[in-house]
């Protein structure tokens, strides 16, 4: 027990846990819809598409969070424009935007020599260096996400069921879709300092995907995804403290690891159920 709690006696670990937990909750709430609607590739593209904004903001000496936000908005608009073009499959356009934005980010970053260390922190996060300002921003993002996810539940539910049905019910599927994308952008922008742009995707998708294997209703799936996300952050920090690993990557790997453990258990349970003989009549 002491081994588990030992890391949390340090203030920087407590701050890291708080920052990571808020990121996990924000990601789990909107990530649930990302998983339900099969938008994981789009989430991945959005997560990596914030890099050029961060680079430009860094070069101009502006807060990188603002750069990330502008970049995410460009991605949301770009993805929507691509979605409207029926000639291309959605994933083709998203893939091109994804690689294009990532490449642009790296090109911009490669122009500045002093940037390498910062690039690593943007890609993989620096959760152990979380400052009170970062935590406040994440708390706001988590609160905004929670309020919108609750308030727009019917709209999100209907657009996920079928966009035409949502429109027929007067529940504005296009607006719901754009708000969803915007919330994914918010989750990424608010979390990239903690877990990094490469790994935020892990918190966005892995806990909701794990919850989907167990939960039977959307609110239950969200609650479970939040719990799994926060647990991944906690376990990640304990492992990082004792084995001196990269914190953001350990959290993301934990979240994905939990998914595969639950998937395996689920498969075994399902097979055992399938083998049980039918009751005699």
């Amino acid at each position: 027990m002491h081994w588990l709690l030992e890391p949390f006696q340090y203030e920087f670990v407590q701050r890291a846990f708080l920052a990571g937990a808020l990121a996990a909750v924000t990601c789990a709430l909107i990530g649930t819809w990302v998983v339900i609607r099969g938008l994981t590739f789009m989430g991945d593209a959005l997560a990596h598409g914030v890099l050029p904004g961060i680079a430009v903001a860094f070069l101009l000496g502006v807060d990188v969070t603002i750069g990330a936000f502008v970049s995410a908005l460009v991605m949301v608009v770009g993805i929507n424009a691509v979605n409207r073009n029926a000639r291309l499959a959605n994933d083709t356009g998203i893939g091109l935007l994804f690689v294009g934005m990532l490449a642009l980010g790296v090109v911009l970053i490669s122009r500045t020599r002093s940037f390498t260390g910062d690039l690593t922190s943007f890609l993989f996060g620096s959760v152990l260096g979380a400052r009170p300002g970062d935590i406040a921003l994440q708390a706001v993002a988590a609160a905004v996400t929670l309020v919108l996810v609750v308030a727009l539940h019917r709209m999100f539910l209907a657009v996920s069921f079928n966009a035409d049905k949502a429109a027929a019910l007067g529940l504005r599927p296009r607006l719901a879709h754009v708000v969803m994308l915007a919330l994914v952008a918010v989750a990424i922008v608010a979390s990239f300092r903690t877990v990094g742009t490469l790994l935020v995707f892990g918190l966005l998708v892995a806990p909701p995907a794990t919850a989907a294997l167990v939960a039977r209703r959307v609110p239950a799936m969200m609650a479970l995804a939040c719990a799994i996300g926060v647990a991944s952050v906690g376990i990640g920090l304990i492992v990082t403290y004792h084995f001196d690993t990269a914190a953001g990557a350990t959290m993301a790997a934990t979240a994905v690891g939990i998914f595969f453990v639950v998937l395996t258990v689920r498969e075994v349970v399902d097979r055992l159920h399938a083998r049980q003989p039918l009751p005699e009549r």
Binding site: I36, R37, G38, A86, A151, L152, R154, M155, L157, A158, S160, F161, N162, D164, K165, A167, A168, L169, G170, L171, R172, A212, A215, R216, R217, V218, A220, M221
Partner: protein, 280 residues
């Protein structure tokens, strides 16, 4: 017949010179028709004839390229809340973690909107729809755990729960088991008896023959009126072309290579009016 005259005549839906298209692909041209109020109308026609597109236009999901369409004496978009639209089951996301009761409850969102709480009357409407489709024992099950017929009954219940004046059903009984098919058609009959208007698309001519009014489509309106007047060899030949087989006993079969449903007197075929499949 002029538009004003048709509206006065008690039609639930009236189209004059309606033209529909997906991008550059026209699916329905110059369609003038009337759907009588308080009756069951079937939309019949071959693959890509414009049946589903016309339903989409009736709820304002597909904008008109030409002509005029009045639904319940107003524009399709304004009428939307009073129209219950049951989509083809295949077009619904079944991965959504929703119970049967939650799916049916969605029908009430048309009335309550995104924010207003559900009242006891809303719950009563949901319970009534569940009872009428005989899906009571399934209410806590997941949609992806149900058979195709049970699923379709759930989606029809969702439409019924909306308590609209006009019920639109897109292929409600295609490929269903006998029990589900019977239940859904019985509900349609009850709706008519209660004075509501039902419009359903179908590929099954025997099913169309049991409705009050038939609209035979093939990228245009080939014929409309009572089943006996519309489902004649001449009209069907004009709509289906060479895919029509006449048997010695006078029965008519559709020979459609896309879709052969066993167990039906009349062969049915796929309808797909989506972009990229402009066959009509």
């Amino acid at each position: 017949m002029a538009m004003a005259e048709r509206v006065r005549s008690g039609a639930a839906v009236v189209g004059v010179g309606v033209g529909l298209a997906y991008g550059r692909h026209p699916v329905l041209a110059d369609a003038s028709f009337a759907v009588p109020a308080g009756a069951v109308t079937s939309l019949v026609g071959p693959n890509g004839a414009g049946k589903s597109s016309l339903l989409n236009a009736m709820v304002g999901l597909l904008a008109l390229r030409r002509g005029e369409l009045r639904v319940l004496d107003t524009d399709p978009e304004r009428a939307r809340r009073r129209v219950a639209y049951v989509l083809q089951a295949a077009k619904v996301n079944e991965q959504l973690p929703l119970t049967v009761r939650e799916v049916v409850t969605m029908g009430r969102f048309a009335e309550r909107g995104p924010f207003r709480r559900l009242r006891p009357a809303d719950r009563a409407a949901v319970d009534d729809a569940i009872e009428r489709l005989e899906i009571g024992p399934l209410v806590n099950r997941h949609v992806d755990e149900l058979s195709g017929g049970q699923r379709q009954r759930v989606f029809v219940a969702q439409g019924l729960a909306q308590q609209g004046e006009l019920l639109l059903l897109d292929e409600p009984v295609t490929g269903l088991d006998v029990v589900s098919r019977h239940r859904i058609l019985e509900v349609v009959a009850t709706e008519r008896a209660a004075g509501r208007t039902v419009v359903m698309t179908t590929h099954d001519l025997s099913e169309a023959a049991d409705t009050d009014h038939v609209l035979l489509l093939a990228g245009r309106v080939v014929a409309q009126g009572a089943p006996a007047e519309v489902l004649t060899a001449e009209h069907l030949g004009a709509a289906y072309g060479g895919r029509l087989l006449r048997l010695a006993d006078g029965a008519v079969l559709l020979d459609d290579p896309h879709h052969h449903a066993p167990g039906h007197d009349h062969t049915v075929c796929d309808d797909d009016d989506e972009p990229g499949h402009p066959t009509g």
